[in-house]
């Protein structure tokens, strides 16, 4: 188990120290290949810059692959989570008072994130539309619908009514999956630090 943990620590160091190189590679590829694709001609070319690009591209591929491995291991390994995520999220537990504060802040954060998730779950299913009929003298009206599906492809979109013009639809402003997860992650992190800061000031 300790060998597994030390291997993961080595992986964490590799990911951290290689990240500037990966960023540079990605910027270089974005500038030199605006289409986002590296052609086979470039890959087989023997010029110095292309050989370097090949090596960096391979390293980037390896880095991303290891990143997936690392974060999937982190889900199951409590020891790794404790050693990496406490450092990343700047959780300080140097004595019993700080442990107490972290505990209280964690509870407050858990509840606030839960409240936010419930609110977002409700919001995600509802679609509010402001609709106007295409005929002359037709009035505007609001329609509310509820859609829920376990998979994105299972959600049936309501059939478009050709006699109506949609002036506003709340689904047009829904966040993407990645930005939603990022938002929840930031909410979780920021609310934890706000709660612990408040508790530290009070006590």
């Amino acid at each position: 188990m300790s060998k597994f943990h030390s291997f993961n620590k080595f992986v964490a160091r590799y990911l951290f120290y290689f990240s500037p190189l990966i960023i540079i590679t990605l910027i270089w590829i974005a500038i030199s290949h605006p289409t986002g694709y590296v052609s086979l001609k470039t890959l087989t070319s023997t010029s110095v810059s292309n050989i370097l690009l090949n090596i960096l591209g391979f390293l980037t591929f390896l880095w991303v692959f290891i990143l997936w491995y690392f974060f999937s291991v982190m889900i199951f390994s409590s020891k790794l989570r404790e050693s990496i995520l406490t450092k990343l999220s700047k959780v300080k537990e140097r004595d019993e008072r700080e442990e107490f504060i972290v505990g209280r802040a964690a509870k407050a954060t858990f509840l606030s994130t839960m409240a936010l998730t419930i609110f977002m779950l409700l919001l995600s299913g509802f679609n509010i539309k402001l609709v106007k009929g295409k005929q002359i003298n037709s009035k505007k009206h609001i329609s509310i619908s509820y859609e829920f599906g376990l998979l994105e492809k299972n959600i049936k979109k309501p059939a478009e009514n050709k006699l109506e013009e949609i002036l506003f639809s709340s689904s047009d402003y829904s966040l993407s999956k990645s930005s939603l997860l990022l938002f929840i992650l930031f909410w979780h992190l920021i609310s934890f630090h706000i709660f612990s800061y408040k508790l530290k000031r009070e006590n």
Partner: protein, 77 residues
């Protein structure tokens, strides 16, 4: 936001014994294994220590635990 204070009003004489022994908050914190912020919170009466920490403080000052900590009553909440 909940407070860390307990239901008891506990008074302590940490600052008195610290003055007698002529040690700084930082030195005391180092000796009993806590941060300086915790010593500040203890002296202000904002934080009641665990039994373990209370004994560590008493042992550091070489006095009985009752000499430093005293229950003054219960809080009305």
């Amino acid at each position: 936001m909940g407070s860390l204070r307990s239901k008891f009003l506990i008074e302590n004489k940490i600052h008195v014994y610290r003055a007698i022994k002529k040690v700084t908050q930082k030195d005391l914190a180092l000796a009993i294994g806590v941060t300086r912020a915790t010593v500040v919170a203890l002296e202000k009466g904002n934080y009641n220590p665990s039994l373990d920490l209370a004994f560590r403080i008493a042992r550091y000052f070489e006095v009985d635990i009752n000499e430093i900590f005293k229950v003054k009553g219960e809080k009305n909440e």
